[in-house]
């Protein structure tokens, strides 16, 4: 029997402390709607979802959604997500990170998740600024970004997470935009349903420290309308390089860049379980060999 739930079943009593107009609201709603639909379509049960978050404004999302969650530390969403999935492959794991988590503090884990094809979904709230610490540049801030630590503008160039993930072997690479909620919800659904490491970089305006609504509204277009073949890796790479997270003179594609199938980390790592009796017999046998 299919479980039917309503949106309100996914709410908690926590008071929301994001700024009015913050892109996080939209990501939260898109996620809730995606999960709600998946539960009601019978894809998974409510108790089978586990959400994780890092530290930063984005991370409060797990307090706001009434599902299993692991509120981790800065930059460390992927390792516990990997552990949970290894321990119980039936669970559906969705990690949320900020750009500071995913691309600054925890960059090694991100690359390894793609390399391993760990079957988890990672949603990066990429506002391209450290917001909860009141505005410093991150890995994806544009060159010249002025913040508390760089009053005259950063001279570093950002890196391109889409390109990085394609190069690292991710099997589902997408970019969303917080202000296109319907599109984002579909992306999240597809990412959760994808078997393997699913990555979504979500362009998220920060109304307090880096308000990019107008910038994105003028440039964003959906790949789904352009008949892009998601199996075409070379084309995906080309599209990824279209915008370098710094320049202002180009359009910005959103949607699924690339999707392919590979065995997942958990499938390859699955350990045949044995009975307690068998284990103890083996243990005693090995001890005998050590005489």
């Amino acid at each position: 029997m299919k479980e039917k739930i309503e949106l309100k079943d996914l709410n908690t009593y926590a008071q929301k402390t994001w700024c009015p107009g913050c892109g996080n609201f939209s990501i939260e709603i898109a996620t809730k709607l995606a999960i709600l639909e998946l539960i009601n379509e019978g894809f998974a049960k409510k108790e089978e979802f586990v959400l994780l978050s890092g530290i930063g404004c984005h991370a409060k999302i797990v307090d706001y959604i009434n599902l299993n969650s692991f509120y981790s530390i800065h930059g460390r969403v992927i390792p516990p997500a990997t552990g949970i999935k290894l321990a119980n492959p039936k669970l559906k794991i969705i990690g949320f990170e900020g750009d500071g988590d995913a691309y600054n503090e925890g960059i090694s884990h991100l690359i390894w998740a793609a390399k391993r094809n760990t079957d988890i979904t990672l949603i990066v709230h990429d506002n391209r600024v450290f917001a909860l610490t009141t505005g410093q540049y991150t890995a994806t801030s544009p060159k010249g970004f002025k913040g508390g630590s760089t009053p005259k503008g950063t001279f570093e160039e950002p890196f391109n997470p889409i390109e990085l993930m394609l190069a690292s072997g991710a099997t589902f690479v997408a970019r969303g935009y917080a202000a296109r909620q319907g599109h984002l919800k579909e992306l999240i659904k597809r990412a959760i349903c994808h078997r393997g490491f699913s990555f979504i970089d979500v362009l998220q305006p920060c109304v307090s420290f880096f308000n990019t609504y107008e910038f994105y509204n003028q440039r964003v277009y959906e790949l789904e309308e352009k008949n892009h073949d998601v199996r075409d890796f070379e084309r995906a790479l080309k599209l990824a390089r279209k915008w370098d997270y710094s320049s202002c003179d180009t359009k910005i594609p959103i949607g699924v860049f690339y999707q392919t199938q590979k065995p997942t980390f958990e499938e390859l790592y699955q350990q045949k379980s044995i009975s307690e009796k068998e284990k103890i017999q083996n243990l005693k046998k090995i001890l005998e060999k050590l005489r």
């Binding site: 908690t12 009593y13 926590a14 049960k45 108790e47 089978e48 586990v50 530290i55 409060k60 797990v62 307090d63 009434n66 599902l67 299993n68 969650s69 692991f70 509120y71 981790s72 530390i73 460390r76 992927i78 390792p79 516990p80 997500a81 990997t82 552990g83 949970i84 999935k85 290894l86 321990a87 119980n88 039936k90 669970l91 090694s108 884990h109 390894w112 790592y269 350990q271 045949k272 379980s273 044995i274 068998e278 284990k279 103890i280 083996n282 243990l283 005693k284 046998k285 090995i286 001890l287 005998e288 060999k289 050590l290 005489r291």
Partner: protein, 545 residues
């Protein structure tokens, strides 16, 4: 002869470590209790490595530097160790590449090369010669080779025979009636103890001297039904473990000081989120990279204090392989019972030395933690009298379980309210009393030596082998705390009653156990500290007393 010490040395890659182990097995089959000390450098080829095998008709838990038989595969073995050769001791050496005034020279390398075998097979000739000199039946050697070497068996036996024919019998090592015991390194004992207590996943980034736990469990993962994962780094490793235990499976991670230092932020998370993780911290000579393949006890205070903020943990420190087996199993059960991080502190000397043990594997059994049995309204951090909240795991019907690094309410949602903060800190603090209550039912302090003596040697960890031997010889009482946090002061005070002199023995430069004792109002009369990155031998220790 009641006791014998054999040293075998060569360059890295010469195979002396394996030969040392085989010598141990042979002496084990002769009914002797065996201890093997492996001394090696941080390199893959060249340098100078050696193993000392000490066998005794009584329990032996430490080597001596004085040697009865020296087996040299390189010149340094003779140059460095001939001063330790006892009067009447014998040198067996490879005369293809070594010059020596005395001893039995056999052209081992030449023989092996003439037959077209790999160089490392010359160890078999040395083994043959050793058995002949000790009057050991060749059949025992043959059996040990057959059971322990998977490749070149026939060739090894042929070469051993050649070695066996070369020298004359010099000693008569009596065969004892004792049944051969199990030979186990400290790390293998830790792995087996945790396995018996229900370990389901081992996650570790390689680091000496903890690496052999990873290798041992990876080798036997199918026999034990344990998943073994090598993560991208130590930070990922501990957080993976935290994910695994959140999902309801028992997991452990092993490392040394440097790796543990990287894990401390996540250790603090385990304190806040009440995650039952088990860390094996096998110390090596530090600070920093230090002397990576040698021993030191510099991380006791670090293990007890690591991590930001205040949170409860359990720290144990076994001293030899049997203790390592039982304490690893016991600690895995305890961290689940109390939902706190646990740290098992070892060091190179315990982790990598080989001991003769007799184990009662039935003594360790997986015990069930406090589980949520209700139908609804689950609260991960429910306030309880003993501070322990029932566990539930993701995937469980009608349960939402929220783990968090933030201070939180009972449900697991972030809080910044002063009264809720205090309530939750008090809840976690109550677990200390619960842990101490549990510890009082167990052996937290091991007593040895002459138990009614007024003179006390107090020590921890791997020094116990040397300390106990000296205490037995000189009539001291030995106190060895097995638990270091919570510190079993009640048991120590009881044991110190009526004693006059307390001497603290540690392999570090500051006397960290003495510092802990001082915090509890106990002043030791003397500290004997060794920090040349080598363990105490009984002879060295006797000189200090």
């Amino acid at each position: 002869m009641r006791e014998i010490s054999i040293l075998i040395g060569g360059e890295a890659g010469d195979g002396t470590k394996l030969t040392g182990k085989l010598i141990g097995k042979i002496l084990n089959r002769m009914g002797y209790s065996v201890f093997i000390y492996d001394d090696y450098q941080s390199l893959i080829r060249g340098g100078h490595n050696f193993s000392i095998i000490r066998a005794k008709d009584k329990n032996v838990k430490i080597h001596q530097n004085d040697i009865d038989i020296l087996i040299a595969l390189n010149q340094e073995t003779i140059d460095f160790h001939k001063k330790h050769l006892k009067k009447g001791g014998i040198i067996i050496y490879d005369s293809s590449n070594i010059e020596s005034q005395k001893g039995i020279g056999i052209k081992m390398l030449e023989k092996v090369q003439k037959l077209g075998f790999p160089k490392v097979l010359r160890n078999a000739i040395a083994l043959g010669a050793l058995c002949k000199i000790l009057g050991i039946d060749f059949k025992i050697l043959e059996k040990v080779i057959k059971e322990n070497l998977e490749t070149y068996q026939k060739e090894n036996i042929k070469l051993a025979k050649f070695g066996f024919e070369e020298p004359e019998k010099k000693f008569e090592l009596n065969k004892l009636s004792a049944k051969p015991k199990i030979l186990l390194t400290g790390n293998e004992a830790i792995a087996l103890g945790a396995t018996k207590a229900g370990l389901e996943m081992y996650i570790a980034y390689p680091m000496t001297p903890a690496t052999s736990i990873l290798h041992f469990l990876a080798k036997y993962k199918d026999e034990f039904g344990i998943q073994v994962v090598q993560p991208e780094n130590e930070i990922a490793g501990i957080l993976m473990v935290e994910g695994v235990v959140y999902a309801g499976k028992r997991a452990m991670i092993g490392t040394s000081g440097g790796g543990f230092a990287l894990m401390t932020e996540a250790l603090s998370l385990a304190g806040m989120a009440e995650l039952p993780i088990l860390i094996v911290l096998s110390q090596r000579a530090a600070p920093s990279t230090g002397v990576p393949t040698y021993t030191m006890q510099g991380d006791l205070l670090f293990a007890i204090n690591a991590g930001h903020g205040e949170f409860q943990r359990i720290v144990v420190a076994p001293g030899e392989a049997e203790q390592a087996f039982y304490l690893a199993g016991e600690l895995l059960n305890l961290v689940w019972k109390f939902q706190v991080p646990g740290i098992l502190v070892s060091d190179k000397h315990l982790s990598e030395s080989t001991f003769s043990v007799s184990l009662n594997v039935e003594k360790i059994n997986k015990t069930s933690p406090k589980l949520f049995k209700g139908k609804k309204g689950y609260k991960r951090y429910l306030l309880t009298k003993d501070g322990i909240s029932p566990l539930a795991f993701p995937g469980q019907k009608n349960v939402i379980t929220k783990a968090t690094s933030y201070e939180h309410d009972e449900y697991g949602l972030t809080t910044e309210k002063p009264d809720e903060i205090v309530r939750m800190i008090d809840k976690r603090k109550r677990k200390k009393d619960a842990i101490i209550k549990e510890m009082k039912k167990r052996e937290t302090v091991k007593i040895g030596g002459k138990k009614n003596s007024e003179k006390v040697l107090i020590t921890w960890g791997s020094n116990i082998g040397a300390v106990e031997e000296v205490a037995n010889n000189l009539g001291y009482k030995v106190i060895q705390p097995l638990y270091l946090e919570p510190f079993p002061i009640w048991a120590i005070e009881k044991e110190l009653k009526g004693t006059k002199t307390i001497i603290d023995i540690e392999t570090n430069s500051e006397g960290q156990l003495a510092t802990i004792l001082k915090c509890h109002g106990i002043n030791v009369d003397k500290t004997i500290l060794k920090y040349d990155a080598r363990p105490f031998t009984p002879k060295e220790l006797e000189k200090e007393l």
